[in-house]
């Protein structure tokens, strides 16, 4: 087994707990494990509702915030122990595409500026002409031409164009991994497919892996290889995307997938659902299963100890629910 590209072991992130917060702790991510192999590029989806910890995970992988405990290694190097120089190299190999293509551009600069900066900072080109060729190549990958867009200001471009340019910017450095934090949630449905298609092509033609962070399971289903579904900081279910979405096991994931509106008036939501009060929903977070308040199965052990991830049918499909404890 070769060294994996990205390996996250027992990652836990706790916010707060300091004097100013009155000792209140928020467990944003708990004992999270994930591996992206180095030899086969993959699109790995991290999905979950707001507050489930998916953006915390992105921040941890990007090194924006340190871990409370656990370890993240990139090609065998521990992220927390990188020297300044190694950190620079890491930045080059791991790139990011953010959610909001309207907020990431400086409105006072022409859009070409974002590329010029990268080329300067990472010393990618010896001459202006060489730099321009690199930019042109990156833009062609996302189906754009330099002459059409580089001289424009951000407000002259559509959301879809801006987001494609951000993907091109990430590609410019020829990274091994792109962290895509909700890259299509602010882009129109009709343009979404284009960006997803670019992600697929970058994986297949250029061997770039993605950490695709999203709340939208239908896009994950269309392009994702592996999926990790988070619920309040813990993995509820993981496995291959098709398997998990076509055959969800965890009660939360079942409810989640059952709630996605199907674009067919003949397949309406099957039943009414209701949510318990917020207070109740948070009250079982210290011990026991975090989904207890919303779950339909109420067993005693659900309240006392948090369920581990149990394997389903001996495959890579795992669910953190006692329903599958015997199958181990």
């Amino acid at each position: 087994m070769t060294t994996p590209l990205l390996e996250i072991t027992d990652a836990t992130k706790i916010y707060g707990g300091g004097f100013l917060q009155g000792g209140k702790k928020v467990v944003a991510l708990q004992n999270f494990n994930l591996t992206i192999p180095a030899d086969t590029p993959k699109i790995v989806t991290i999905a979950g509702e707001s507050g489930s910890g998916k953006s915390t995970l992105a921040n941890l992988v990007l090194g924006f915030t340190p871990l409370t405990s656990g370890k993240i290694t990139f090609t065998g190097h521990d992220l927390s122990k990188l020297t300044k120089e190694e950190r620079g190299i890491y930045r080059r190999h791991v790139q990011v595409v953010f959610q909001d293509p309207y907020a990431v551009y400086n409105p006072f600069y022409r859009v070409g500026h974002i590329y010029d900066l990268i080329i300067k900072n990472f010393k990618l080109a010896k001459s202006k002409k060489e730099g321009r060729e690199l930019i042109e190549e990156a833009l062609n990958v996302v189906g754009m031409q330099g002459d059409e867009v580089l001289h424009k200001y951000p407000h002259q471009l559509s959301g879809g164009q801006r987001q494609r340019m951000m993907v091109a910017r990430a590609y410019l450095l020829k990274p091994d991994l792109i962290v895509a934090d909700e890259p299509v949630s602010m882009v129109d449905a009709s343009l979404r497919a284009m960006i997803l298609d670019i992600m697929l092509r970058l994986r297949d033609d250029y061997g770039i892996s993605f950490l695709y962070i999203t709340h939208d399971l239908s896009t994950a289903y269309q392009i994702g290889d592996d999926i990790y579904l988070l619920y309040q900081g813990s993995i509820a279910e993981s496995g291959s995307t098709t398997e998990v979405i076509e055959n969800p096991k965890h009660p939360y994931v079942q409810q989640l997938i059952g709630s996605i509106p199907v674009p067919d008036p003949d397949q309406k939501w099957d039943s009414e659902i209701s949510l318990p009060d917020d207070e109740l929903m948070r009250s079982h977070t210290d011990s026991g299963c975090r989904f207890y308040a919303r779950c339909t199965h109420h067993w005693e052990k659900c309240l006392t100890t948090q369920p581990l991830l149990y394997q389903i049918n001996g495959s890579s499909h795992q669910a953190a629910c006692y329903l599958y404890a015997d199958e181990k």
Binding site: G159, D188, A189, S259, V262, P265, I273, S274
Partner: protein
Amino acid sequence: MSTNPKSGTQNNNGHSDVALDVRDLRVHYKTPEGDVIAVNGISFKVYKGELVGLVGESGCGKTTAAMGILRLVQPPGRIMGGRVMLDGDMDIINLGNKELRRARWTQIALVPQGAMNSLNPTMRVKDQIKDAIETHEGRQSKAVLKERTLDLLALVGLPSRTFNMYPHELSGGMKQRVCIAMAIVLNPILVIADEPTSALDVIVQRVVAQTMLDIKKRLGVSMIMIGHDMGLMAQMVDRVAVMYAGNLVEIAPVRAAMKAPMHPYTQLLIESIPSIKERKPLKLTEGLTHDLRNPPPGCIFQFRCPHVAETCRTQKPPMLEIQTRHGVACHLYKPEETA
């Protein structure tokens, strides 16, 4: 469960089953380089007790059209023409300022985009609802207000303790339901909800959608829901109105729109929905392709249409009523076919 009976002001017009009749509504935005035609003469009807979904990509004019209906277009926007007939005889566009003020909220209410962030953070839920009631109906006794408010909260499925809470104590879904409650407090004929569930998690979205459907059923109120999630539309609405670049291209019963869309743009919109049921190759499309200041002569969709013909370049297709309550504006369909 007691809700206010409909007040007598609104049934003096006979027995029309049309709640809202929009005729040739035009809204332009003034810019130094010429007017942006945001809403280019749209006409449609909303029947009583009907939920119409208004869909289209961002920038197609859905929100502007809704603001036009409410006469809430802000400068540099301007309503350039058209009529908005509410409940048969009241033309919102030509109403005097005083009557307009009275009509808003009592006859036609809005749940604005990002409504849950429009609640006043310093006021309790009960006081915000009280404001709405007293502004339009004058001072009320405490007991009456409390009863009405509690009934209202129950109607949108909120626990009674919400009454005394501040917005920051509520979750997103609860805040959204407070906003829906406020929209229906004065029993309007029509509620316009602008992306009422777009910032919510999938499960919460389902709860809010259920709330809206429940209200529609119980109060018989007509609704226009603006959105872009075709899945949600399929679950909720009775008819779908599809806008493209300021024009209404098709309005159809939801089943027809989803299963057999007629306008090429509707077809494209339906095809591009990512599915959770089957993994299929991605369908690539371009976005808006022309400058909204200079719409091309002829059909608005001609640059992206796979069926474009010579007539499409020169003549704007009229909205044809192909079937009952199903209109489409496309040269592919001829009036003869309806006969």
